[in-house]
Chain length 139, copies 3
């Protein structure tokens, strides 16, 4: 069995931002030498997500509006979490809606994807250095 | 280490529909010969989900009403994604709510399930040929 | 390849409750002897979740209020699922929002976590014996 570990470093310009990380995950799969196996990609932070969806800016605007409607950014004390001095309860909730991680099959040395699948990092409390973990196991 | 790959083909009659795929995943696990390992089951499309919940039609009606309330099907330009000519932004959002994939343990050559766990394909933009990927690794 | 299986037993005092299970998952990783691999942690029930987020009681109160707003506990027949005699359709929906499982990398014999990641069992229909499955594969 082979294993491989890679960290993707991301600092977004905006508080909420979606970053396509597919190419860097593919590079990690090639570096691993794994032909058949599984690839875990997860945010190492609890106010951001890794998810698979479409690379279309209009859709990302729809995601943003929808996330803001259900978990609005409100730095005040509407959120109990903010009694600790934090201002990012909305980001913790948005992360639950979009998910922490994806697991992708590796077949023939490549990510085994459907026609439109792309991997995104979804940042909800950005402008700070963050990390995404890629862990590959297989043979 | 053994690996096994199987594709489940699904074309739903309705735009939104839930399909129980547990038996076909179990058959893939038997075909793999894996006794101990992990089984990844994911939609290969970005407007549908794979999830685990109850096989009860009333609950599925509740899921449908709830999904429609939070991400209504509206072919017009309420959604920015529709400026591209698409009409399925709601389906991309519903898929985020219900999830892309499940990972299930394999123990003693079988899916290691609790008492009521069943695997579903959740289609949100159907009436077209779609695929679900089953990837099994273990020994 | 090594595999290891462990069940965590939980009976909550409240109907909705969050339980930090990180220490028991870490103990299972140590017991497995796996140095490099993957650790699956999933609820074996369909009205509860396993998720990774912050161990902060104010945030948990925010999660609870948010979940209750989007899938309120209503034992009556607002939910179609309740025509079967059940009263927990809200718990099935809350579980979809918070997720069934997490997959965590194992590196150097430990859970490969970011700075604040903690694993929680999220119960939405409790006061009964429930189980969480930990399945570890690697070498």
């Amino acid at each position: 069995m082979k294993t491989h570990r890679h960290e993707i470093k991301i600092t977004t310009h905006e508080r909420l931002e979606f970053v396509n990380i597919t190419a860097e995950v593919e590079a990690a799969v090639r570096a691993s030498g794994v032909q058949e196996g599984l690839c875990l990609v997860n945010s190492m932070h609890i106010t951001s997500s890794v998810f698979i969806n479409d690379d279309e800016s209009g859709l990302h605007a729809d995601f943003t509006r929808w996330l803001e409607a259900f978990a609005p950014y409100r730095p005040g004390t509407d959120y109990r979490h903010h009694l600790t001095g934090e201002d990012n309860a909305d980001a913790h909730i948005k992360r639950q809606l979009m998910g922490r991680e994806v697991v992708v099959a590796i077949t023939g040395g490549r990510l085994d994807f459907g026609p439109w699948e792309q991997i995104f990092y979804g940042e909800f409390d950005g402008r700070r250095p963050k990390r995404v973990l890629v862990k590959i196991i297989g043979e």
